[in-house]
């Protein structure tokens, strides 16, 4: 049995490992070339998840940590689909998100930023896509925050997004940015991405149609994972 191979990852589209303007990458980037190889069963398979793995409210960041009331901030829905490069929805895959609160502070024991924690906001959520690859979260819009890169570097508002995919070689972590944020073109982490079209692809668009009147705005964010070749003819990889 031959499984359809994944498209090779376009390493000229993806950020390189060594990006000196993002200083932390300097010592954490391999200097030697990656060893490129056809995926085997070890990479074409990957973990699977079901609704038994997660709770029914895990994708509602307004509620999943709230103690005494609603979190502070601009209420939003983030919705979209996980697709592959063929434009097909990736069904039943785990999507996890994490973010700062409305003041730009993370609920993490190592975040020392002076903005306060919100007692009603944890900052993480997770869900499994439906049969068409669709997902949704409800949350507050995260704040921008400063970080140590240059003296006064600021991250644009962003939500971290982790997608499991069908195979281990599709595994992806990225960040979702918000339409119109003037910090996007000033961010050294965004600038690790060589192609401006790839930055646009990470910028969620305001979607008035999916907002809730007198309640919240909505942003649409689709995520694309590696596609797979059609099996017109069987391949004969090396050593065969």
């Amino acid at each position: 049995m031959t499984l359809p191979e994944y498209f090779q990852r376009d390493r000229t589209w993806q950020p390189p490992a060594f990006t000196p303007d993002y200083k932390t990458s300097v010592l954490r980037s391999p200097r030697l070339p990656l060893l490129s190889l056809h995926g085997t069963l070890s990479e074409m398979t990957g973990p699977t998840f079901g609704h038994g793995d997660i709770g029914p409210f895990d994708n509602d960041l307004l509620r999943n940590f709230a103690q005494t009331g609603e979190p502070i901030g601009e209420r939003i829905i983030v919705h979209g689909r996980v697709l592959d490069e063929n434009g097909r929805g990736v069904p039943h895959t785990l999507v996890e998100v994490w973010q700062a609160n409305a003041g730009g502070r993370y609920r993490h024991k190592t975040d020392m930023y002076l903005a306060p924690l919100d007692p009603n906001f944890g900052g993480c959520g997770r869900t499994v896509t439906d049969a068409e690859g669709a997902f949704a979260f409800r949350t507050i819009k995260p704040g921008a925050y400063p970080w140590r890169n240059w003296i006064n570097s600021w991250r644009p508002a962003h939500i971290h997004v982790s997608v499991m995919g069908s195979g281990f070689c599709q595994r992806l972590i990225t960040q979702m940015y918000f339409e119109g944020d003037p910090l996007i073109p000033r961010c050294p982490i965004v600038a690790t991405i060589p192609d401006p079209r790839a930055v646009e692809q990470l910028t969620a668009v305001l979607d008035m149609n999916e907002g809730r009147a007198l309640d919240c705005l909505a942003y649409k964010f689709d995520i694309v994972l590696r596609g797979r070749r059609s099996t017109f003819f069987e391949n004969r990889p090396e050593g065969n």
């Binding site: 010592l27 085997t40 793995d53 490069e85 975040d111």
Partner: protein, 207 residues
């Protein structure tokens, strides 16, 4: 001329220093989920040799990286993955998940996980691959997740024939993928240090 209608893969962005909030919130210092994922790779019943794997991840100065997050993926002791595309998936060991999330001690950078030693998995053209565990690393400063493999030092014969290890042109670099074995109070413990850069840089894969 017609146009191809392929989409482009979303660009990766670093997982950042607070990756634990999303993927391992109890390690960030708070509880939110009824169960955290990736803590139990094997379940209690899966047959096979129970082992521990431990190590550290080092940056280009030799400093341990304490904010790394590692995911592991492996077959069961019979070489079967719990995944619909594994032709033998129906026979996978009961309760076996094959996937783990590993976070180091924030003070030292030492990480460890317990699993079972995986079996042989078919590779290209059905050629056997030596037992291995796939690793995927993310952290602040890593722009796109780094993939590598752990092989087992006590599988010297299988490792010598492994088609992936044999693709590493500089023969001495193959050793960067092979974990040393010791016994600790009866438990086999494999040591697997990962060097992102510099002397002894680990072989990373683009698969």
């Amino acid at each position: 001329m017609q146009r191809l209608d392929h989409m482009k893969e979303s660009a990766s962005q670093t997982a950042g220093p607070y990756v634990h909030i999303g993927l391992a919130p109890s390690r960030a210092g708070f509880d939110v989920y009824a169960q955290e994922l990736g803590l139990d790779i094997t379940g209690p019943e899966a047959p096979g040799e129970r082992i521990r794997v431990e190590g550290m991840v080092f940056d280009g100065t030799g400093t341990s990286i304490r904010d790394v997050l590692i995911e592991t993926w492996q077959a069961d002791a019979a070489g079967i993955h719990p995944h619909p595309e594994d032709p033998r998936a129906a026979q996978v060991a009961p309760g076996f998940r094959g996937w783990g999330r590993v976070v180091p001690d924030f003070a030292t950078g030492l990480w460890s996980f317990d699993t079972i030693k995986p079996g042989v998995v078919a590779g290209w053209g059905g050629r056997p691959q030596a037992p291995h565990i796939s690793f995927w690393l993310v952290a602040r400063g890593i722009n796109i997740g780094l993939q590598t493999r752990l092989y087992f030092a006590d599988e010297a014969e299988a490792n010598a024939a492994d088609p992936v290890l044999n693709l590493v042109e500089q023969v001495h670099r193959r050793a960067t993928l092979i974990a040393a074995r010791e016994e600790r109070e009866g438990l086999p413990v494999y040591r697997f240090d990962i060097r992102l850069q510099g002397d002894g840089e680990t072989v990373f894969l683009d698969v």
